[in-house]
Symmetry: D2
Subunit: 134 residues, 4 copies
Amino acid sequence: MSFSIKRKINFYETDAQGVVHHSNYPRYFEEFRGEFLERLGLPYHKVREDLKTDIVLLTLYVKYKKPIKFGEVIRIEGDIKIKNKYFFSFDYKIFVGNDLRTEGKTEHCCISITNGKIISIPKEILERVGGVKK
Amino acid sequence: MSFSIKRKINFYETDAQGVVHHSNYPRYFEEFRGEFLERLGLPYHKVREDLKTDIVLLTLYVKYKKPIKFGEVIRIEGDIKIKNKYFFSFDYKIFVGNDLRTEGKTEHCCISITNGKIISIPKEILERVGGVKK
Amino acid sequence: MSFSIKRKINFYETDAQGVVHHSNYPRYFEEFRGEFLERLGLPYHKVREDLKTDIVLLTLYVKYKKPIKFGEVIRIEGDIKIKNKYFFSFDYKIFVGNDLRTEGKTEHCCISITNGKIISIPKEILERVGGVKK
Amino acid sequence: MSFSIKRKINFYETDAQGVVHHSNYPRYFEEFRGEFLERLGLPYHKVREDLKTDIVLLTLYVKYKKPIKFGEVIRIEGDIKIKNKYFFSFDYKIFVGNDLRTEGKTEHCCISITNGKIISIPKEILERVGGVKK
């Protein structure tokens, strides 16, 4: 996969089982997408302000293979897949060292901030995603 | 004090120390304020939509006297104090049974959703708060 | 489906898109499971303390059909399915009124709190789940 | 002040007012303390595992001077104050560029993980804090 981020686990992300609570993983995926867009030169707040576009989550899948503990540093690897002019997805793998702890997938589309309607993926994103993948 | 709510602790609110993480208490206070407004007949989403008013938090104080555990049911007692035409505060006490676990205070003002400027407390709130306190 | 809970949306669960942030849905599912166990007479903190058993999440799937807004009241309908002596799952549907907003599924197993090993589903749970389904 | 960290705002930390929800600030303070301990060579998970010591929050104070928006990068400056052999506090200031957005303070003590009793601040922490302050 073409891109990864590193991330410490925060104490407030743990639960009374002593490990990261499962509801934080979709947040890690969101952080990954944020860094991914930033790497493309299109930080999400710019997408929202300049392109008047919101990226919407349609489905979320997480496979929790092994727990993650406070004090561990995770590496999230992922990539985008453009399905057609409207829909795209991200795949994610979370590692601690070489140990695969989690796999995940999210599906998305774009909507206009102005009227909430589905719009085709902005060409600014499509062009740069093409560029990233080479 | 004139009003209280009951609330179960959710597992996702615990941390690896086995107790409620401290960042959840401001959320409990917010739930209290929400129920307080609802009891006044002014649910917060109506304040936002009908009065175009946001309630802003200026300061937060929490005194964590004893931890709260998963499986416990908390009772939040609190009251509003109108300081002047712009500013008001809430005091809170969190109990488990008769055991006082937490004290807190928040200070607030109102802003216009349209332009973000500070506005005087809407008379719809003032009138009803007066009514509640008798 | 055999069981449902009602739940107000908290302001702190919204995001800058003006709707419930997607990472809260797994928390709503967890609340549902908590109430489900309680209805069985087996609140989760008792499962943990008395049976020394943790319920672990293996997979999470959420289909976000329509957004949920602050001020709305959700009804979560769901049911448990026992797959075999080790594995079980929950299906969820989230409604606002009669409007289906979200579907979800989680898969689980049980582990011993003492040693972290997978154990068969405690008979206390199996018996009562059987009872609930009739 | 002697130490600072930088931190991007995550989208999931915003609320429907379009700014960072107030309950995230105590989490930023916790992140600051985590990095502070790490800089001392005493990461918090080591404090917990090696010294069998938990750091407990006694009071929290936050003054929200101006909102923080998605897309902004915050810089948290802070310092520790040792009050006596049991109690210590942290002061925090959150900046965006040179603009002071938030001030805060937390008070703490240490407890034994083994029995939950208050203990004096471990000398490993005291020595290094002394070192940091010179």
